[in-house]
Amino acid sequence: MNYLYAAYTVIWLVLFIYMYSLNKKQGELKKEIDHLKQKIAERS
Amino acid sequence: MIYISQIVSVIRKDIIAELRTKSTIGAMLLFGLTIVVVFSFSFNLDLQEQKNLAPGLLWTAFIFSAILGLNYSFSSEYENGCMQGLLLSPIPRSAIYIAKLISNSIFILFSELVILGFFVWLFDVRFTMNWHWFVLLMVLGTIGFSATGTIFSAISAETRMKVFILPLLQLPMTIPVMIAAVEATSILLGKETKFTFDAWSTMLLVYDVIFITLSVMLFEYILEE
């Protein structure tokens, strides 16, 4: 049944795209935190 | 009771201010009437189709006109610096909400009556049951619309985009009101729907009670700094 496969494909696509973007955001934030912590270490 | 007199004084303030300028009511009326005229141009309806669509068109005109009035309800307070005055006064926040609810409902009901007259004239609708049932419907629907409309109006006055937020929040929330009001109105126009007029009216009443109660409890948090 094409509709069945379409439905589950949509579900997985949506979920994966969302979770991927979340992970990316977290990665960027982590990079910024490390960068800032380095700056502090340099200062002191 | 002091509480009631406080509410009454805020209502009186709103009404007197409005009577002086008549700006809000004027805009609401003009907007509502224009919508009705636009509807009559937009659709080339025969008599039967008109009867079917009439309740929906009427209530759409009502709510768009109401949104205009609701938008002005709190933004005018901020513009004129009245909000400070209201907040500094000993009036409890919930009383401000109830007063605003009532004055908003009064303004909206008034413009709805005028729009209704215009609509009946242009669309030639006849009510098979008595008029007073429709008035009841208007009152219940308007109160329900104002219940969330008042509190959302206060919320949108505090945001960046101001008047654009109100429709965004209000329209989805009040879809149950719209459905019940439109269905009940079509019963009055002679159409059969799944439920009786009493059922729809009760639903409106329940909606009103629930959301007024909630809003009274939550209103003070909007004004927190």
Partner: protein, 227 residues
């Protein structure tokens, strides 16, 4: 809340999801009247229930924030709302894909569909509202109010399916007499529900971590400024 690493939660959710897929496609028997298309039901309804649940969480933490004024609660509230919106979107899309072959139409304005769409709109407006408020505390206060009022609508949604006759398939889960799922189907559905809940918990913990990271950055900037 104990600080379980989100990676652990991810593994749990992933494993549960894999098993769930197996159950949906292989373990569960084919439905008599609708055929294989009925298998959409497991993820469609699981997504719907977890979506509703997410909005309940938003409601709870909105109220908690109004009581305790702690921004952490607000962060959970908005995170849960976003996930709820995500799952409700999945519900609407899979519902349409189910409706088309079975009813012949993509959409119908019956009670439950309408209410789900309305709910989707309300939470979309909740998230948009937050975009238009600068101050973090103000944002939390205003959206908490909307979150509470919005969720109350969910009950009108839920009871509408009970009180109004609709085109939507009659309640089969808790519908009392007349509802019926084969035991394998019940097991499959229950499992999918658990899998979706695990997924929800994982994403929520991820978002909480992101929120925390954001605050950490703010704190660092503040200490840098002080120096």
């Amino acid at each position: 809340m104990p600080r379980i690493s989100s990676n652990v939660l991810l593994i749990i959710a992933a494993v549960l999801m894999l098993i769930a897929i197996y159950m949906v496609f292989i373990y569960a028997p084919t439905e008599r009247t609708m055929g294989d298309i009925q298998r959409i039901f497991y993820f469609h309804v699981s997504s719907a229930w977890v979506g509703f649940f997410a909005f309940g969480v938003t409601f709870f933490y909105s109220a908690a924030f109004l009581k305790k004024k702690d921004l952490k609660w607000d962060n959970i509230a908005v995170s849960s709302a976003e996930i709820g919106l995500l799952f409700t979107t999945i519900t609407l899309i899979t519902g349409s894909l189910w409706a088309r072959p079975v009813w012949g139409i993509w959409w119908t304005w019956d009670a439950r569909l309408t209410s789900t769409l309305v709910l989707w709109l309300i939470y979309l407006s909740y998230l948009m509202l937050r975009n238009y408020i600068e101050s973090e505390t103000k944002r939390a206060y205003l959206s908490s109010v909307v979150g509470i009022i919005g969720f109350t609508n969910v009950f009108l949604v839920y009871f509408s399916i009970r009180w109004w006759r609709t085109q939507h398939p009659a309640p089969v889960i808790a519908g009392g007499s007349g509802s019926g799922l084969a035991p394998e189907m019940q097991l499959t559905f229950g499992f999918c529900l658990v899998a979706f809940t695990a997924l929800y918990v994982y994403i929520l913990s991820k978002k909480v971590e992101i929120g925390r990271a954001g605050w950490e950055i703010e704190d660092i900037y503040r200490t840098l400024d002080d120096k």
